[in-house]
Amino acid sequence: MRRAVADLGRFFAPRSVAVIGASAQPGKPGHVVVRNILANGFPGALHLVNPRGGEIEGLPVVPTIEALPDGIDQAIVTLPAAQTPDTVRALGRKGVRAIVLAASGFAEVDRMGAALQAELGRAIREAGARVIGPNTTGHVSVPARFTSSFFPLGRVRGGNISYVAQTGNFCGISLRHILSAEHFGVARSVGLGNKVDVDECDLLEYLGGDAATGAVFLYLERLTDPRRFLRVARAVSRRKPVILLKGGASAAGAAAALAHTGALAGDGRVADGALAQAGVTRVHRYSDLFLVARALAVMPPPRGNRVSFLSPSGAFTVVLTDLCRSLGLEVPPLEDRTRARLQALAPSFIRMRNPVDIFGSVALHGYERAYGDALDAVLGDRRVDAAVVIMMLTAETGVPSYDFLVETARRYPDKPVYVTFMGAHEHDLAARAWLEPRGVPCYMKVEEPFEVLSVLARCRALTA
């Protein structure tokens, strides 16, 4: 009995919302959620429920769910766990079909919590509502200028990246990290919590058809329905990148372990294969959820695994070529005409090839011309799918303006260009702060752009 994906629209584009358990006391979840909604400029109707009535943040408060007007799209419940089943039933009677449950204290805690969660399941079926949670900080939908999060967020920056995470903290701490450490923004973000109703399959299906979502990032520990997830992912990954961080490999049964195949199935190899088959790109580090998103927010995945990079240091040309090899990236020989263009910029004693040792050219022609022409040359090369620019910035050697990087990258919209640095840190930070909002991803560690390219080359290969 599967309800339509369209049901989820009430979560992501509600016209009217009620907060059950709204609080006048600063710092309480029921207060923070109201402030979050106001901070994001939610244009719909906002109704608050608290038995004490009165006013919160200048908005009137009604004492009961029964006192709410009809036709409310979504309710956020910040009451304690024990009160949630009855609250869900009351909301069902009021015709509310989308409910976010914040409370913890269910199956994640103990057996009594599990019993309460079972009762909650029954209440949800009676109410005929869809439910996100419980045990979650909630969700964010920037195109609707809306959030149900009770973690202080302030205004959430919009973008084309969407997240689904099996951790309550995602729409809290992780989102705060994105807002403060990244320049990209999000479209939708959901903390799944205990998945008592809405699960990752429902959301992936919804986000697959969501015009505001350019790429979907998931953090999952346990798939509710693996076969359905793969079916949905197979369809969605044809349209947009689906990147997954999944913890915990399942162990083979005892009988299967009698066979070689069973022994070889350890180390998550079955999950690796199944996910690859469905076009899902697996990553293995939490920080990849942000580093890879930084690139996909502004540039497509590379067409292939062939990389060129511009380096001001001979050491980088050596160690980063080694790194590329271990990451499954190629550093191919360049076309003759590309090499001729590079050589024309360089002192005769440096033989120009891939990777491009740019130091001599900079000494002859200055940053902008040396880097700009070399980048244009390698991006124009048919053997190159992506380029990395390593900038060396110090006050003494000069700090260029970065327009040329943005302009050159724009001339080759199919080929990603990432920038990384080695030099005086304050200039690196300033360069990133200027470049990223203008669509050029920057990485503070020299290995990171290559690691991201490796993930995205895999992504492209899986869905080609």
Partner: protein, 235 residues
Amino acid sequence: MTVRAASLIRAARARGQRMLSEHESKRVLAAYGVPVARETPVRTLAEARAAATRIGYPVVLKACSTDAAHKSERGLVAVGLRGPRDLGAALAALRRRMGRGARGGFLVQEQVQGSREVMIGAIRDPEFGPAVMFGLGGIFSEILADVVFRLAPLRPHEARAMLRAIRARRLLGAVRGLPAVDTGALARSLIAVGRIALDHPTIAAIDVNPLIIRGRTAVAVDALIVLADPVPPAA
């Protein structure tokens, strides 16, 4: 075709076997179109000699029972038997190693000539369900673990992609004077093994290891089908 496989599996379970014998396993594979080595189960020296004459020397002699997994480690395989005398000596040696009271008989098998070995397997993953494995075969399969898994049922393009997904993929090409492997046929064998796992929920795992590349074709020379532990009847 699958009816024959189903009755083999049912009969084995009825006898309380935890796995099919090598010969039974290969009959299931053959029923699904996987190329298998020619072989005959035998119990006596006379039967063995008759079988060897029919198959043609050189032959392989193996212990064949339902509790003889990992035969080569236990010295229960004799290869390269060139005539009746070799065969007689090998049979006596295998009987000694198996010890008094060992159950099961022997298999006389054609000696499949080839220097490349691959492996196909299947497993019922607790989370994802039936999955097919392909990898480097023979004695290297466990040491190098150069294997790739995909879920069944496999589509033809997915099966072909599996062949390209192992590190040793070049092994399947034309290398060192050897012809390129018929990857279409090998892909069909992968699909077939997945089909077996899907069709028979009582199978816990399948090993086809190795398949030896003879000419251009991968031929199964050893196989093992492990059955799921019987489920206690519902109360």
